[in-house]
């Protein structure tokens, strides 16, 4: 039964974090409906924060879409990794694809010693659990932020970069990643005074593609 427990605890902790997204979306002048739609339809934490982060900083819609999509490309590789485990019918795939994210893949892979059946359980329990709680807490966070007024007075404008930092931190595992992070900071900040908002962030992604390609 431990896969059920794992799935539930991941769903609750990650889901609760949806309240930070809901609140941050309101701080970036999205409506409650838009915040909820992002959680229902986009459903990928980092990409959702990217949309509100880029738009909130005054960036164009196209920049927000591009940043969000590039951050979401890893979900395609998760789907690829999970396909032989899940063996979904075409119809089931339409649902399974939506919940193919960091957490569902992570819990599924953590069960690989216990066989395919447990991996499948891990994927579906976690994916559905995170979906339910993430959306619930997005709504609560958005309504809460709407009620309190001035986002800066409540630190919401710092919650967005802190959320990004929390997502980034576990990825800075080796020297190469840390070096790339430093280059991304330098490049994006150098560009800020000269280009419109959103471009410095996309430039960092291009830098990553260039380095990954050439190495």
């Amino acid at each position: 039964m431990s896969v059920k427990r794992d799935s539930l605890s991941v769903s609750l902790t990650v889901g609760a974090y949806g309240s930070a997204f809901g609140a941050a979306a309101i701080a970036a002048h999205f409506t409650v409906l838009q915040a909820c739609l992002l959680s229902l339809l986009l459903f990928s934490g980092a990409s959702q924060f990217a949309v509100i982060g880029v738009i909130g900083a005054g960036g164009a819609a196209l920049n927000a879409i591009a940043t969000s999509t590039l951050l979401g490309t890893r979900n395609a590789l998760y789907g690829l990794r999970m396909a032989p485990v899940l063996k979904m019918s075409r119809l089931k795939r339409l649902v399974g694809a939506q919940i193919t994210i960091d957490e569902s893949t992570g819990v599924a892979l953590s069960q690989s010693e216990n066989g395919l059946e447990e991996m499948r359980k891990g994927f579906w329990y976690t994916g559905i659990g995170v979906y339910v709680f993430w959306n619930l807490f997005t709504l609560l966070g958005a309504l809460g932020a709407k009620a309190i007024g001035n986002p800066s007075a409540w630190g919401l404008d710092a919650a967005v970069p802190a959320a990004f930092l929390g997502l980034l931190w576990p990825r800075l595992v080796d020297r190469k990643s840390r070096l790339l992070a430093l280059l991304a900071i330098a490049l994006s900040l150098l560009l800020v005074p000269f280009v419109s908002a959103g471009i410095p962030i996309i430039s960092a992604a291009l830098l990553a593609i260039l380095i990954g390609w050439r190495e």
Binding site: Y17, F30, L42, L71, A83, S152, G166, A184, P193
Partner: protein, 102 residues
């Protein structure tokens, strides 16, 4: 349609397309070391840039304000291995205090 709606619908559509694509293509399509490497690098670079810009940029100016204090608190909490929600909450509280003092 304003840019908020364009961003919400566009980003959502592409996100789902990417997920469905990954679940549908033959494995050999994406199983290339170059793709794997780029896939690890993109989130690192994007998330770092998002932290930097959302902390230090005010439109096209670079500023050090209450948000920097919040991020300093977040870094401290991450080094102390605090859980995710505590990091975000700590950053928000610190930033709010500095904002109100000013």
């Amino acid at each position: 349609m304003n840019k908020y709606w364009i961003a919400v619908s566009g980003a959502s559509a592409f996100a789902y397309a990417v997920k469905l694509f990954g679940a549908s293509v033959p494995e050999s399509w994406l199983a290339h070391p170059r793709i794997t490497r780029i896939n690890i690098f993109i989130p690192v670079a994007l998330l770092t840039a998002l932290v930097a810009v959302n902390t230090l940029a005010d439109k096209t100016k670079l500023v050090i304000d209450h948000r920097s204090a919040g991020i300093a608190a977040a870094i401290t909490l991450l080094i102390a291995k605090a859980p995710f929600p505590v990091v975000v909450l700590g950053a928000a509280i610190t930033s709010a205090i500095i904002y109100r003092i000013n």
